[in-house]
């Protein structure tokens, strides 16, 4: 993949252009964490990182970037591989940041710290959700993709809020979150697999599209 390295650099340059927005996200999350404590850190960072990552797939600049890709010696599949790779790395970075923020908050507020399992589990969950949502962005663009993301995220959060008291769900969640750290690694594994499958789907969609 001779065009992968140049494409990765291009994606990074595209992200750099949005660095102010990135900084704002990070600040908002840190603020929310500081206010609400360590427990919200990871979910919040999750939402923020998803919004940033999906930016890469469906930005306002999308039309122009698509034209740029079309004029370069660049294969469509390489565009997808690069987007996915950068997104995955970004997600990891965000989770690390979130864990850091949570750790600081926990220390400052003398709360129980967040463990590795939480971090790993969050990463896995994020990779799963992204894997589900990204092909929608690729296939239908920012607006519809954004809607799909909103629906998925709202469903998950709504579900948690509505049935948070439900003992079965609470037990399952506790199982995921803390008991048995292996569970979180399974989630991570599922996330990685889901990403691979999602990449294949996205490549198929993107390659066949008219731009």
């Amino acid at each position: 993949m001779r065009d992968l390295a140049p494409m990765l650099r291009l994606d990074l340059l595209t992200l750099v252009a949005s660095r102010k927005m990135l900084a704002i996200y990070v600040l908002v999350v840190c603020f929310l964490v500081a206010v609400n404590g360590a427990l919200v850190a990871l979910p919040m960072i999750g939402v923020a990182s998803m919004m940033v990552c999906l930016n890469l797939f469906g930005t306002i600049e999308n039309h122009r970037l698509t034209q740029l890709y079309g004029s370069l010696p660049l294969r469509r599949r390489t565009v997808m591989v690069s987007h996915y790779a950068v997104t995955a790395v970004l997600t990891c970075v965000f989770v690390l940041l979130g864990a850091l923020a949570a750790g600081v908050a926990a220390w400052v507020r003398a709360e129980p710290a967040v463990g590795v399992a939480e971090g790993v589990g969050t990463l896995g969950a994020l990779l799963l959700v992204l894997a589900l949502v990204t092909p929608a962005y690729v296939a239908w663009g920012t607006r519809t993709g954004g809607l799909v993301t909103l629906v998925v995220v709202a469903t998950v959060i709504g579900g948690l809020l509505a049935f948070g008291d439900n003992p079965v769900l609470a037990g399952a969640l506790r199982g995921l979150a803390g008991v048995g750290p292996e569970a979180s690694w399974w989630v991570l594994g599922a996330g990685v697999l889901a990403q691979a499958a999602s990449l294949v789907v996205s490549i198929g969609v993107y390659t066949r599209q008219d731009h």
Partner: protein
């Protein structure tokens, strides 16, 4: 080897069919690609670049690394500086010449730290040209590069192109609805109308093969009508475009003149109108 050859290309979309279409850019020459807006020029170019997949037909393009593209708006992230545009594109082109790029930015009057979104239309066009000329491109594809430009910027573009063409390995595909730009520089012209190619020859032959005719109403009989493209009848006569060989059948009061490219495109695109 010609840098671009489209053969039998067909694309169906929303009730509009493009093609069957043949388009060849002969190596070493400028091919003007003209037609009204919506005639299919941009779709054709997208098919040539691989942005759109044709339903039928074949596309042969010299590698993307040897092609430079100029659109009516720069295809770069708005917040990028001119220098970042270079950094984004350079890794894809082994033949990228950073000195040349800097010199061309100079010519364009663009500071390397200037953001793309701050550039005027003319400078946006020049930035794209600078990028295109910095990686030893052999084929320049220009898609409406001059729309919205002041005459000076347009003239500078044409001068750059004329210079580009002094190398016989270079070719240009110049797609525009501003046909006056092509009067000076086009060697060949392809006219597209409602998705079909209606003419594709040298510019001189194209202009020779039509005449702009103005005549008296009384001489517009049933035999003549179907021969007139874009017929406009008004209170004191009529006007239209005719194939040169058909002008032999004109009445004595008719005046037949050599048309400009613009008049050819306009009349081929117009439906007949009555005053």
């Amino acid at each position: 080897m010609n840098p671009l050859e489209l053969t039998g290309v067909i694309k169906r979309r929303d009730g509009f069919t493009l093609g069957p279409l043949d388009l060849v850019v002969p190596r070493g020459y400028v091919m003007g690609f003209v037609g009204a807006n919506g005639a299919g020029k941009t779709t054709t170019i997208k098919i040539a670049l691989g942005l759109v997949h044709a339903d039928e037909g074949s596309v042969r393009l010299v590698g993307h690394d040897r092609v430079g593209v100029v659109h009516d708006q720069p295809a770069y992230v708005g917040k990028w500086t001119a220098a970042q545009v270079g950094r984004a594109v350079a890794p894809f082109h082994p033949a990228w010449d950073p000195e040349r790029f800097r010199a061309l930015l100079d010519w364009a009057g663009i500071e390397p730290t200037r953001q793309v979104k701050e550039l005027s239309r003319g400078m946006g066009m020049k930035l794209q040209l600078a990028v295109a000329l910095s990686h030893a491109a052999e084929l320049l594809i220009l898609d409406e590069p001059t729309s919205g430009l002041d005459p000076l910027a347009r003239s500078e573009l044409l001068e750059m192109l004329a210079d580009f063409m002094t190398d016989e390995r270079h070719s240009v595909l110049f797609s525009t609805h501003i046909t006056s730009d092509l009067e000076k520089i086009a060697d060949y012209v392809t006219v597209i109308e409602r998705g079909r190619v209606v003419a594709s020859t040298t510019r001189d032959e194209l202009v020779d093969s039509y005449r702009l005719v103005r005549g008296a109403a009384s001489e517009l009989d049933a035999d003549l009508r179907p021969l007139v493209h874009g017929l406009r009848e008004h209170g004191v006569g009529w006007q239209g475009l005719m194939a040169t060989e058909d002008t032999v059948s004109l009445g004595r009061r008719a005046v037949a003149e050599v048309p400009t490219l613009e008049e050819i495109v306009v009349h081929l695109a117009k439906e007949p109108r009555h005053a």
